[in-house]
């Protein structure tokens, strides 16, 4: 069958149409279009968002706002950051709690509040500030990470300072920024799954920094420049972020032959 084109409207059962219409108009900030413009199970009110999406409040004798034995039932209004700040003020003035109970799960710049309507329907109000998508770098100067031989082929080492991971692939090194390219959530390396994982929205990346095929579609992780000096010390500059569209072997920094083994071998020959 044909796919649906998109979302049309949310039908919400309420026990007092006047009370709920006032809530969605005055607190959430929707525009009231009119009454009984929809065929449904009771008197109803149609309200508008700025996109074509609509809200239909239908008055019924009883409402079960949260389905028994379920969890996480909620609906999320997406606002501009300016609308979010104005809504926050309206909510505060009306005595609602505007703290984000799940702040530890938010990416940088991701703003969120929860609110219940008069019948107990649960909503999330969310907005993304510019810092949610900006490229983050740390101008703290180059970081000496260690000798090339300290990093086994295939290994991933996380650096807290600079917020990057140094990956040694068979053919060289990559320094991957740990800031997710979806929104600025901080990735963690999941050794047991051989992938980077964003606990904010579930993005997953392999060791080349490429999004997993069945995961959230995201651009590749950004790179920081890697250099290796004559003594074999690997240095990363987290002050520069390199955006890319795919993985290319030329992105790898290849160690020279002057590893400790080579030096040892050379020293052995000399003796």
């Amino acid at each position: 069958m044909a796919s649906v084109d998109g979302f049309s409207h949310l039908v919400v059962h309420v026990t007092d149409l006047n009370r709920s219409e006032a809530f969605y108009r005055d607190i959430i900030g929707l525009d009231v279009i009119g009454r009984d413009l929809v065929t449904d199970d009771g008197p109803n009110s149609l309200l508008a968002l700025n996109t074509r999406q609509r809200l239909v409040l239908v008055e019924v004798p009883e409402v079960t706002a949260i389905r028994p034995n379920s969890s996480t039932i909620h609906h999320a209004w997406l606002l501009t950051i300016d609308e979010f700040q104005r809504t926050r003020e309206r909510m505060k003035k009306a005595g609602y709690d505007v703290d984000d109970s799940r702040a530890q799960f938010r990416a940088m710049g991701e703003n969120s509040m929860d609110i219940f309507d008069p019948d107990g329907h649960r909503y999330q109000i969310q907005a993304y500030a510019p810092e949610a998508t900006q490229v983050i770098t740390e101008d703290i100067g180059p970081i000496a990470c260690g000798h090339v031989d300290d990093f086994a082929v295939g290994s991933v080492k996380t650096f807290v300072k600079g917020k990057f991971c140094l990956v040694r692939l068979p053919d060289g090194f990559l320094a991957l920024s740990r800031w997710c390219t979806h929104l600025n959530g901080l990735l963690s390396w999941k050794q047991e799954h051989w992938e980077f994982y964003c606990p904010m929205h579930g993005a997953r990346f392999d060791r080349r920094g490429i999004a997993r095929p069945k995961g959230r579609p995201c651009p590749p992780l950004r790179l920081h420049p890697v250099s290796i000096d004559d003594a074999g010390v690997v240095t990363v500059d987290p002050g520069t972020a390199i955006t890319r569209s795919d993985f290319d072997p030329s992105q790898l920094t290849v160690p020279a032959a002057t590893t400790r083994e080579a030096e040892t071998a050379q020293a052995g020959k000399g003796a």
């Binding site: 069958m1 044909a2 796919s3 649906v4 084109d5 998109g6 979302f7 049309s8 409207h9 949310l10 039908v11 919400v12 059962h13 900030g29 929707l30 525009d31 279009i33 009119g34 009984d36 413009l37 929809v38 065929t39 199970d41 508008a48 968002l49 700025n50 996109t51 074509r52 999406q53 409402v63 079960t64 706002a65 949260i66 389905r67 028994p68 034995n69 379920s70 969890s71 996480t72 039932i73 609906h75 999320a76 209004w77 997406l78 606002l79 501009t80 609308e83 809504t87 329907h121 109000i125 949610a132 979806h182 994982y197 606990p199 579930g202 993005a203 069945k214 995961g215 959230r216 579609p217």
Partner: protein, 155 residues
């Protein structure tokens, strides 16, 4: 102008994620956007195990219910578990959608006519396999230009 741009997503619960994926992707044409929190430590920290389906300008975050949810009667096809989600198709595709529901063996009620003064034309009503009520509607205002939906990838 309203103070809200769009509904970006809803979190709902189902009894079986594979069954839900087959329904939303196979019947409504949703795209699997990702699977979240399939890590034990995250679920122990209170995150829900869920999949996300993209349906045009909307994401359904479909979580595994922690216990069996009471089901509406089999014969009830139109209703709301407190809420009901309605998706839109163009008027020209509406009959094709109805044929699609029939073809997939999804029982539905309708089409039901809406008042001409309102923005909606006709609706059909049905349920997902876990008893969540759904609606497909064609709209009289399908040629009206509204604000563009925000990028769902920031959700």
């Amino acid at each position: 102008m309203a103070e809200a741009e769009t509904l970006s997503h809803s979190g709902i619960c189902v009894h079986d994620l594979k069954e839900a994926e087959d329904f939303y992707c196979g019947v409504l044409g949703a795209r699997l956007q990702g699977a979240v929190n399939f890590f034990t430590e995250d679920t122990l920290n209170g995150r829900s195990v869920h999949q996300a389906y993209a349906l045009g300008d909307f994401l359904f975050a479909v979580a595994l219910a922690p216990d069996f949810m009471p089901m509406p009667p089999d014969e009830q096809l139109k209703g709301a578990m407190g809420i009901r989600h309605a998706f839109t198709v163009e008027k020209a595709a509406f009959n094709q959608v109805i044929a699609g529901l029939k073809g997939k063996g999804v029982p539905f009620e309708g089409p039901v006519d809406h008042p001409e003064a309102g923005p909606f034309g006709q609706s059909v009503y049905f349920k997902d396999p876990s008893g969540n009520f759904l609606e497909i509607v064609w709209r009289r205002d399908e040629d009206v230009v509204y604000a563009a939906p925000p990028d769902l990838d920031v959700g």
